[in-house]
Subunit: 271 residues, 2 copies
């Protein structure tokens, strides 16, 4: 089996290349100046693993050169746009999104597949992913992006807006650390973890997902209502929002208390 | 030494009552139907430990009955309003805010003191708090409330608004758990931990603090700018906000990556 990983010199590409080689596959990696078309022509499985903003362009570059019995797949955090671009290819087509990074290994990690056109190579690839111990979840491209607009998009917006609000307030973060309660510290550092990363990756995840506008709007509406309750000094409004949200969380509140209790305990012991 | 803890039948009151008794003090606890005035008349140190929304009323009830050489203090999460009410008393006055709950013990926990009028009993009380292993931080009431509007207020708003936005979206939280990345799960459960608690406590912390309007407004402005960038699809706007916030966090980004890395690792091992 011959595997081409386009953009395969990144962390994720290297990690999968090793795994393929262990199964006896031949692996072609193309980096920034690699010959993508040449790699696509030769391979039985072609994996596009380039930055999000380059994914569609790269797919358009290689699609018509892929063998009909080969498989075209990818590692992109969004699925609607890349899979629309994949549709022009005559080969097997399977969208992919590894929900983990290269630091954690494969075992029990989530991997989303968005099936479009199956063939023998797509069947082989599924078995290969399962053999790594990955937990495969199947979704349509639309379902994937709708969920990721919340899981990634909303999580990111809530973290970035906390950091940006602190900056707007000119708040003294050193004082904050000195006076902090453990929940504040966890909240601050979760925002800091996101902000420590590549702004281009996060703007791509946000902007290339067709459903992020909807989640960003819902978040703004939620914050508007809370700010308005605070501005008016309306305890009843604030408490209504609070209890409606608690009811929505339902029995996840107990789970949340248990898990974060253990996390805060761990933090206290590992300062 | 005779100590009155007004509202002392709550968790925090009971915890401190035990500690006073260990030092050989006589402790008077008054609950919902206790005689606060009677307790205030007799005691050398009077600690107000009632729900935030009742604090000012209780201080007004007892202030004129306290002995001049006694100390009036409290355990309230806000300080400007309670300490304004305390000013009418002729005794020693010291605002107090324990930054921990009764589940963690005293050792190395933060305790904020806001000094107003010192006397021998206030000196004794400081030494007593230090003897418990508490870390004493001194601030003015205004500085306290400004900091808490961020550390408590902003943290709470960002958590509640995440929960409320998920409710507005009608998002399927079970699906979210199935598909989640570890950072999403930590973010979701941190919000759930806040929502699991008493809405009245959180509306008091928000509404009785004179500086929360300012922080809530800054948060709304931050979210508005981010939502507008997403709505317009402006990657450059989004990346500007992201990098400005990162610069503001400065070397706390590295700290954030390290600490949350350990937390996520702990979560992965303790599913």
């Amino acid at each position: 089996m011959k595997i081409a990983i386009i953009g395969g010199k990144g962390q994720m590409g290297k990690m999968f290349a090793e795994a393929f080689k262990k199964k006896g596959c031949e692996v072609i990696l193309t980096g920034r100046r690699g010959n993508n078309i040449d790699a696509a022509k030769k391979a039985d499985i072609i994996i596009v693993s380039v930055p999000i903003r380059e994914t569609v362009k790269v797919i358009e570059e290689i699609a018509s050169h892929i063998k009909e019995d080969a498989l075209l797949t990818d590692f992109t955090s969004i699925k609607v746009k890349p899979m629309d671009a994949m549709k022009t290819a005559k080969c097997g087509i399977l969208g992919g999104h590894p929900l983990f990074d290269s630091t954690v290994g494969f075992k029990s990690q989530n991997f989303i597949l968005c099936p479009l056109k199956e063939n023998n190579n797509s069947k082989w690839y599924r078995l290969f992913l399962k053999s790594l111990g990955l937990n495969i979840i199947e979704l349509s491209a639309e379902e994937h992006d709708k969920n990721m607009a919340v899981i990634q998009g909303l999580t990111h917006i809530s973290n970035i807006s906390l950091g940006y609000a602190l900056k707007k307030l000119g708040y003294n973060l050193d004082m904050g650390e000195k006076l902090s309660s453990p929940v504040y510290l966890l909240r601050l550092y979760t925002a800091g973890r996101i902000l420590a990363q590549d702004e281009k990756l996060y703007s791509d995840i946000e902007m290339e997902n067709p459903y992020s506008k909807e989640t960003a709007k819902a978040y703004l509406e939620a914050v508007k209502e809370i700010e308005s309750a605070v501005e008016k000094g309306s305890k009843s409004e604030f408490e209504r929002i609070f209890t409606e949200s608690r009811q929505y969380f339902g029995d996840k509140c107990k789970k949340a208390r248990d898990l974060t209790g253990r996390v805060l305990n761990f933090m206290a012991k590992n300062k």
